[in-house]
Amino acid sequence: MLFLVIGLVVFICLRYRAKGDKSEGDQQTGNNLLEGLMIGIPAILLGWFFIKSVGTARAITPGSDPARKPDIVITGHQWWWEVEYPGSGAITANEVHLPVGIPILMEMRSGDVIHDWWVPELGNKTDLVPGNKNYLSVDIDKPGDYYGSCSEFCGAQHAWMRIHVVAESPGDFAAWLSANGKPALPPADSLSKEGAALFQIHTCANCHRIGGTAAIAGAGPDLTHVGSRRTILTGILPMNEAGLASWISHPQQIKPGARMPDFIFSKDSIAAIAHYLAQLK
C-alpha cells in the first residue's frame, strides 16, 4: 500500500508537472466507480487482517479455566519484579527462571503503579494493573536467556526495570526451584556473620526478606538466594561483592530515585554486608 502511494505520487508528479504554461488541468470532479474501489479494496484487505488477528489473539491468550492455578505470580514494584512460585516457597526477584516445553500460566499483579511485562521473544505484553490480575501463558521452546523490560512508564527508574528470563530444561528448573525453596544458608565465615548481624540490626531488614531469618519484610527485593543471581538492579551491576558494595554505599547515584536511601555505613560494614549477601547462593 505504501509503495502504491509512493509510486502514484512519483508518477503523477513527473507526468503532470506544469511546464511553464498557465493553463488549467483537466476539470474532472469525481468518479463514483473509482470511489467505490477506494473504499472497497481497503475494506477487503482490512477484513482479512481482522479475521487473521482475531484467530491469533484467541490462540495466544490463556483459556478461562477457573480451576487452573498460576504456576508463577509476578508482582511489579517501582522498579523491580517480585517473582513467586506458589507451592514451592520460592520467592525471588528480577531473574525469572522458567522451564521449557511446558505451558506456563503467569499471574500478573502490581504493588504500586501500572507496569508492563514484555519479553519480546516470549509472547505478548501484559500490563500489571494495581487492583486487577492479568494472566499470560508462555510456552518456551529453547533453553537460554531471554531479555525484556517494563514497557509502561512507571516513574523515575522505568528505564532500569528490565527483565531477565532464564529458560531451563525441566530437570534443571526443578533443581533450581527446590534449592530456592529452601531457607537461606547460614553465614559461613566470621565476616559474613558480622554482615548478617549488621543486616538484622540496621535498616536492611526493614525492607528486605531473607528466608529463615528474622528479616521478613517485602518492600524491597527478596534476598534469600540473592547470591545465586547474575546481576542486581535488573542488570545495572554484576552480582558480586564489589557490585553489592558499590550499590549499598551510594544507591542514589547508581539508580537515582530508587526506594533504597543512601545510608551512612562504614566501609568495613559495607564490605561485611556485601560479603554476607554474596554468599547467599
Partner: protein
C-alpha cells in the same frame, strides 16, 4: 455580474479598550479582530514549538549514546512529559485554531467571527494555560508522568511534586479555551456564510473545521472531567484513581482516551482541510470527489469515539472487548484512505506547480501514509501486544503528528503567508527548508520503527548497550539536530520575508476561494460586497466572470482593484 450581497458587520470599529493603532503591543493584546487573533495563535504556537523542540533535542542528546549521563531520570522524565504535552496542547492546537479563526471568516465571506470577544478569550486562555504549565518548572518540578499521565502514577503518593497539579490546571484552562473557540467556529460557519454558500459548497477547509469543532466539543468534556477528578484526588484526597484506597487506575485511561483518540483527529482534520485546498490550487484542478472527501471527515469524527480502547489492548480487557475496538480502529483506516486516494486523483491529470506549499502537501501523502499504515498495525491486537509502548509507537505518533499535522500546517503557512502579511514567504529558501526538514524528520523517526521492533521501550532515560541500539539512536539524534536546524532556518526565513519579502499581491497563486478576494493583508473589514456564491470555487467563478465581461472599476474584483483602498475604522488597520 451576478447579484451582489453586502457583507454585514458592526458599523464602527470593534471594541478594543479605546486603544489606537499606534500603540503597538497593547493594540495586539486588546484586539478582538479575528485576523490579529489568528496571527497571535500562530505566534503562541511557534513560541511553544521552539521550547518543545528544544526539550526534544535535550532528550535526543541523552539518548545518543547508551548509558549516557547528560540528563538524569528526573529531568528526562519531566522533559518528555513536557515535550508531549506542549506539542499537542500548545503547538498543534493553537496552530490549528490560528488558521481556523483567521481563514474561516474569510473563506465563507464574513467580516468577523460570530463572537469576537469570546475569540480573544479563547486565545488568552490557551496562552495562559501554557504559561501556567511552564511555571511548574519554577514551582518545584514539571509534571513527570507522561503526556497521558496514567493513574495511579499521577497521584500524590507517587508524584509528590506540584508538577501534575500544574498539568491539570494548565490543561483545564486551555481546554476551556478550546471549547469556547469551537463553539465560536460552529456558530460562525453555520450563520455567517455569504449568500449562496450552501453546506455542500463550503470550502473543504471550512468543512473540516466545522466537523472538527463538533468533535472537539464532544471530546474535551471527558478530559476536563478527568482533570477535575484528578485535582480532587490530589488536593482533597478523593479516591477516583487512587488504587490504594479503592479507586480505579483504568478509569483514568478510559476517560483520557475517550478524549485522547478524538484529539488525534482534532489535530489532523484541519490540516486535511488545508491540504484539500492546496492540492486543488497547485494542481489547477477542482478537488476530486468533494462529497467523499467531506463525508469521510464525518465518518472519521464519528468513528473516533469508538476506538479509544485500542490504546489499552495490553491492560487485560479481554478478547471480546479487544476485538470490538480492533474492528472499529481498522474501519477508521477506510475514510482516511479515501482522502489520500482522492488527493492523488486530484493531482492526476492536473498541471502541478511545485511551490513549497505543494511540496509539503506531496510529502505529506507519503509520510502520512507511513504513519497511517503503522497505525493499522496497532489495530491488529496481536501486533499491538508486541509493539505498543515501544519506540515503534514513538515513530508512529511522530509520523502522524509531524508527517501529518505539521506538514499540513507548514503547507498552510507557505500557502497563506502572502495573504496574512502581503509578502511572499521566500520560495527559494523555503525549498531548502523543506528538504532539510524532510531529511531530518525521516532520519530521526524512520530508524525508531526498527528500535521498537528490537524491543526498546519508550520513555526510558537510558538503555544498555545492546546490539544496534547505539547506532540507531545516534542516527536518530543526528536527524533531530538536522530538523532543529531547519526550524531555525524557517524562523529566519519568516523574519527576512516579513522585512524584505517580495510583494505578494492579492492573489499570488491564482486561487479558488474567497480569502483571495480580499486584500493582502486583508483590511480590518474583509469585504464590502461579494457576489452570490454559485459553485465550490467562488473566487474562481468571480475571476471567470470578470474575464468574460470585464467591467472597469468592478468593485468586487480584487484582482483588478488596487489593494488597501478600503478602510473603515478611523484609526484601525488590520495590521
Amino acid at each position: 455580474m451576478e447579484e451582489l450581497v453586502t457583507i454585514p458587520e458592526p458599523d464602527r470599529p470593534f471594541p478594543g479598550l479605546g486603544v489606537s493603532s499606534n500603540q503597538g503591543l497593547l493594540q495586539w493584546i486588546s484586539s478582538v479582530d479575528h485576523k490579529m487573533i489568528g496571527i497571535m495563535y500562530l505566534l503562541v504556537s511557534l513560541l511553544f514549538f521552539l521550547i518543545g523542540g528544544l526539550l526534544a533535542l535535550f532528550m535526543r542528546v541523552q539518548l545518543a549514546l547508551p548509558l549516557n549521563h547528560f540528563l538524569g531520570p528526573e529531568a528526562y522524565n519531566q522533559f518528555f512529559t513536557m515535550h508531549g504535552t506542549t506539542m499537542i496542547f500548545f503547538v498543534a492546537m493553537p496552530a490549528v485554531f490560528g488558521f481556523s479563526v483567521y481563514f474561516v471568516p474569510l473563506m465563507i465571506g464574513a467580516n468577523e467571527m460570530a463572537f469576537p470577544r469570546l475569540n480573544a478569550f479563547g486565545l488568552w486562555l490557551t496562552f495562559f494555560g501554557g504559561l501556567l504549565l511552564y511555571f511548574s518548572f519554577l514551582a518545584g518540578g514539571a509534571p513527570d508522568a507522561g503526556w497521558f499521565n496514567y493513574a495511579p502514577l499521577n497521584e500524590k503518593n507517587y508524584s509528590i511534586g506540584p508538577g501534575i497539579d500544574y498539568y491539570a490546571m494548565g490543561l483545564l484552562i486551555s481546554g476551556i479555551g478550546s471549547v469556547v473557540t469551537s463553539v465560536n467556529l460552529i456558530v460562525t460557519i453555520l450563520n455567517y456564510r455569504v449568500k449562496g454558500m450552501a453546506l455542500h459548497k463550503l470550502p473543504l477547509f471550512v468543512w473540516m473545521v466545522l466537523v472538527n469543532s463538533f468533535l472537539l466539543l464532544a471530546a474535551f468534556p471527558s478530559l476536563n472531567a478527568a482533570l477535575a477528578m484528578l485535582l480532587l484526588d490530589r488536593q482533597f484526597n478523593a479516591h477516583f484513581f487512587n488504587t490504594g484506597s479503592g479507586g480505579s487506575a483504568l478509569l483514568w485511561q478510559h476517560l483520557f482516551w475517550i478524549f485522547g483518540h478524538p484529539e488525534v483527529y482534532i489535530l489532523i482534520l484541519p490540516p486535511f482541510g488545508i491540504l484539500s485546498e492546496v492540492f486543488q490550487v497547485f494542481s489547477r484542478k477542482p478537488i476530486f470527489g468533494y462529497p467523499f472527501v467531506a463525508a469521510s471527515s464525518v465518518a472519521i469524527a464519528l468513528l473516533a469515539f469508538g476506538v479509544w480502547a485500542h490504546h489499552m489492548f495490553a491492560v487485560g480487557l479481554g478478547n471480546p472487548v479487544n476485538t470490538f475496538f480492533s474492528a472499529s480502529s481498522m474501519l477508521i483506516g477506510i475514510p482516511t484512505g479515501v482522502k489520500v486516494f482522492n488527493w492523488l486523483a486530484t493531482m492526476y491529470g492536473g498541471k502541478i506547480r511545485f511551490s513549497v506549499s505543494m511540496l509539503f502537501a506531496i510529502a505529506f501523502l507519503i509520510e502520512f501514509t507511513i504513519g497511517g499504515l503503522s497505525g493499522i498495525a496497532f489495530s491488529i491486537v496481536p501486533i499491538d501486544w508486541q509493539l505498543t509502548d515501544t519506540y515503534y509507537v514513538v515513530a508512529h505518533i511522530h509520523y502522524v503528528f509531524i508527517g501529518g499535522t505539521i506538514f499540513g500546517l507548514l503547507s498552510g503557512l507557505f500557502y497563506w503567508f502572502p495573504k496574512m502579511t502581503g509578502k511572499m514567504l521566500d520560495e527559494r529558501a523555503g525549498k531548502w527548508f523543506f528538504w532539510l526538514f524532510v531529511i531530518g524528520f525521516n532520519g530521526t523517526f524512520l530508524v525508531q520503527h526498527a528500535l521498537g521492533m528490537l524491543g526498546m521501550p519508550r520513555r526510558v532515560y537510558t538503555y544498555p548497550a545492546l546490539p544496534a541500539y547505539g547506532i540507531l539512536n545516534f542516527i536518530s539524534t543526528a536527524g533531530a539536530f538536522l530538523m532543529g536546524g531547519s526550524v531555525l532556518l524557517l524562523v529566519f526565513i519568516i523574519r527576512r520575508s516579513l522585512k524584505r519579502g517580495r510583494e505578494a499581491g492579492d492573489d499570488p497563486w491564482d486561487a479558488y476561494t474567497l480569502e483571495w478576494a480580499a486584500a493582502s493583508p486583508p483590511a480590518l473589514k474583509n469585504f464590502d460586497t461579494l457576489p452570490v456564491v454559485t459553485g465550490r470555487r467562488p473566487f474562481w467563478d468571480m475571476k471567470l466572470a470578470a474575464r468574460k465581461r470585464p467591467l472597469p472599476g468592478d468593485p468586487i474584483n480584487a484582482a483588478t482593484n488596487p489593494p488597501h483602498t478600503k478602510k473603515t475604522g478611523d484609526d484601525y488597520d488590520a495590521q
